[in-house]
């Protein structure tokens, strides 16, 4: 990752300021399958809780946090999720972030990108053609 882009952009990973803060007061806890890194504060807050952060590997998109780490970020468990969650079942699929706006988004049958074959709807009609 290029240092200049770190200075001038904010949409990939942490900004310079966050990186500095993390270096000073964050403790690295774990990394998920996508490479997002999870941190917690070294000091407890006034009411005795600890603060938890994620620094994304790549674009800053909250939906890239898989469900087990989402739980951890919201205060679930003490240690990394693997330590308190049951092992993944064989039928569980890999977590995928929200695909809205990307090429892998859901397209209904009638969408032009899918060939535009939609089911018949009210008001559809079949036009006559002289060759028929």
């Amino acid at each position: 990752m290029n240092f200049l882009s770190k200075i001038f952009t904010w949409w990939n990973g942490a900004t310079i300021g966050t990186m500095l803060a993390a270096w000073r007061g964050f403790e690295h806890v774990g990394t998920d399958a996508q490479g997002n890194k999870y941190y917690r504060s070294k000091k407890k807050t006034g009411d005795g809780r600890e603060r938890r952060w994620v620094i994304y590997e790549g674009s800053n998109d909250a939906s890239r946090v898989p469900s087990e780490w989402h739980g951890w970020l919201h205060g679930l468990g003490e240690d990394v999720p693997e330590s308190f969650l049951p092992p993944a079942r064989i039928w569980e699929t890999d977590y995928t972030p929200n695909a809205t706006g990307t090429d892998t988004r859901y397209l209904p049958q009638g969408a032009l990108e899918k060939g535009g074959h939609r089911a018949r709807a009210t008001g559809d009609y079949e036009a006559w053609s002289p060759d028929a």
Partner: protein
């Protein structure tokens, strides 16, 4: 006239009324399933129980109990309430709770009455009965587990349609409604049992799972599939007419409509003309309105312009066309596409003078060249009623399957000149004799000899006119009223060799003689007319424009617009108005109201809904002798017009019911 007391109010009821009718007269609602005004009384659903004094101290079925002097009827007592709840609980014992997937949902008598009169819960926890589906043809879908055995459908097919094909087999709790060997119900009115069925046992097969009744916009319209002018409701959602239901009009269609009127509407979504087409180098290619109008103007028709109207055109369209033709200086207009040329000077002589409601009272009927079952199925129902009251029926023409006893007199019109003694005797004794001349008879040239019979058979009496003509086209009487006819029929127009021929939805015309004319087809379906045309201007069907129609008894009726025409199609009169500009003539109207005003100014009778007065029949001298074999114009009841021909349902009916193809679906 017995006096009865209903819930404390005393009323006088007509002689022969039932207790149920008495309660209705008193404004009380009586729940019922098997009772129907137009069918015989069965008394087997028991839902109409009321308390009647004097009589046994138990609730009585009001539909089958005559109202007599001094009866005290209670419809609001505790006993009646309990009785209704009990009956409803019994009815629901074997009725499935599948309302969410039932097509009758929202217009179901059982649903409504269970809400209004039921107890709201059941104490029954045994197994419910299930009945296998029965096949009843391409129009009727059956889910027989829902049947509550009201036998309305059985009574309809026996009493009204006159074709015994539905029956109740097995006994007691195993009773099942079916057709013999599950053959398709095979008559022109079969789908009316769908309306009659108070539950979802008989539902519409083409309309299955299409819509719920509350989603539909209801538009009052007039059926154009035959010349009866049946009153219909077009049920539409968005831009599509999803189904057609009959409207009650005792003068015209009572509450029935033919299967074609009901199911041809899916043809409105197929083979539609939605673009302008122009013939270039012998091939029809898409074009624009501008191109089309320019091409028509380039033909420079001048006075050489003619208009031919099809069978389903409304009066306004024909008037607009006639105005255009007249403004151009021509008078070549014709609506009898198939070449008939009977005189049209006296409209009474080409009208159904007796009126449909009155024909039920006829006591001798001579049908000349008409297969009423295919040409006017609802008129056939009326004649059947007349026969039940004792009328004798004679038919001239090839034999067809009547639904009542009738004597066939051969298929040559010459028999009119020397009627057998049985006929003359029957007519001599008849107080209300009627003659019905059909399109087949008109085509065979029986017009004069039939008119001659008016005197011979004494058809016109005080307050009774027994001379009737049955047309097959919904547009015909309107066209004749507008003077949309030539003396020599369409042959006159062909002889004049017009440069420009406007075909207003005319699909039955033989275009051979018009080879040199520029043929402009203004219509809504790509059928024979469109294939023959040089320029196609897409127009609106009967569901897509307001209009007036005159049925074969001269009844003026108005239809509303239900949906918009597809694509580039426009309402017919606007096309003709634009054409007038293109041809640089003035037709004298710029909007629909002006058009209608101009039309009613010319033909005042078209302004009033109801029977038009055509005066008296023309005087005829000696009956002219006619000869010729009668052939009926309708070979295939289900495919008589371009909409029906485009309709998959009608095509299927034709294949299965007329041509006997086994297109039965595998058991669902």
């Amino acid at each position: 006239m017995p006096n009865v007391t209903v819930d404390g109010t005393e009323i006088e009821v007509p002689e022969g009324a039932t207790v149920l009718q008495a309660c209705e007269l008193a404004g009380k609602e009586i729940p019922r399933f098997c009772y129907h005004e137009r069918l015989s009384i069965a008394g087997n659903c028991r839902m109409c129980l009321v308390e009647v004094k004097p009589g046994p101290p138990k609730p009585q079925a009001s539909c089958a109990l005559p109202a007599t002097e001094g009866q005290e009827i209670r419809t609001d007592s505790e006993m009646v309430k309990k009785a209704r709840e009990g009956v409803m609980e019994f009815l629901l014992i074997n009725h499935p709770l599948d309302c969410p997937i039932c097509d009758q949902g929202g217009e179901c008598d059982l649903q409504d009455q269970a809400m209004a009169y039921g107890r709201g819960y059941t104490r029954y926890d045994e197994n419910k009965r299930a009945v296998t589906e029965k096949y009843m043809g391409p129009l009727i879908k059956t889910i027989m587990t829902r049947c509550i055995h009201c036998t309305r459908c059985v009574r309809f097919s026996e009493e009204v349609a006159g074709v015994d094909e539905i029956g109740a087999l097995y006994r007691g709790e195993n009773m099942q409604i079916t057709t013999y060997l599950e053959q398709a119900a095979e008559h022109e009115l079969s789908a009316n049992v769908i309306d009659l069925c108070p539950v979802g046992a008989l539902t519409s097969r083409p309309y299955a799972y299409e819509a719920r009744p509350w989603e539909l916009k209801k538009t009052l319209s007039i059926d154009v599939s035959d010349a009866m002018g049946s009153n219909i409701t077009l049920c539409s959602r968005g831009r599509e007419v999803l189904r057609v239901l009959p409207r009650i009009n005792d003068e015209v269609n009572e509450e029935w409509i033919t299967d074609k009127a009901r199911y041809q509407v899916d043809g409105l979504q197929r083979r539609r003309l939605d673009k302008v087409f122009l013939r270039k180098r012998g091939k029809l290619v898409e074009g624009s309105w501008d191109e089309a109008f320019k091409a028509i103007a380039k033909a420079k028709p001048g006075k050489s312009i003619a208009a031919i109207a099809g069978d389903m055109v409304d009066c306004e369209t024909m008037f607009a066309a006639k105005a255009l033709v007249k403004a151009s200086g021509s008078d070549l207009v014709e609506s009898r596409q198939t070449g008939m040329d009977y005189p049209t000077g006296n409209l009474a002589a080409v009208n159904f003078n007796t009126s449909f409601a009155e024909i039920e009272n006829a006591d001798a009927v001579l049908i000349v060249g008409s297969n009423l079952r295919t040409e006017a199925a609802l008129l056939n129902v009326r004649i059947r009623k007349a026969v039940k009251r004792g009328a004798k029926v004679f038919v001239v023409g090839p034999e067809w399957e009547t639904t009542y006893p009738a004597e066939f007199l051969g298929d040559d019109v010459s028999v009119l000149g020397k009627l057998p003694k049985a006929v003359t005797d029957a007519f001599k004794d008849a107080e209300r004799p009627a003659l019905i001349l059909g399109a087949g008879g008109l085509a065979a040239g029986a017009y004069d000899s039939a008119l001659g019979l008016v005197e011979t058979l004494g058809l016109v009496k005080d307050g009774w006119n027994g001379f009737n003509v049955v047309h097959t086209a919904a547009a015909r009487m309107g066209a004749l009223m507008l003077g949309f006819a030539q003396d020599g029929g369409i042959a006159d127009i062909a002889k004049a060799k017009p440069k420009l021929v406007l075909a207003l939805g005319a699909d039955e015309v033989d275009w051979e003689p018009f080879a040199d004319s520029l043929k402009v087809y203004i219509g809504h379906h790509g059928d024979k007319g469109a294939h023959a045309a040089d320029i196609i201007l897409p127009a609106a069907s009967y569901a897509e424009k307001p209009g007036s129609y005159v049925n074969t008894e001269g009844r003026v009726q108005f239809a509303d617009k239900a949906v918009f025409a597809p694509g580039d199609a426009r309402e017919d009169w606007t096309i003709l108005r634009a054409l007038a500009d293109a041809l640089k003539v003035k037709v004298g109207f710029d909007n629909f109201a002006q058009l209608r005003a101009a039309m009613t100014e010319e033909v005042p009778a078209l302004a009033v809904e109801g029977l038009a007065d055509y005066g008296s029949l023309p005087k005829t001298g000696k009956a002219a002798k006619a000869e010729g074999k009668i052939a009926y114009p309708i070979a295939d009841f289900y495919l008589t017009n371009p909409i029906a021909r485009a309709s998959t349902t009608m095509q299927r009916c034709s294949a299965e019911l007329i041509h006997g193809e086994d297109v039965r679906e595998a058991a669902e």
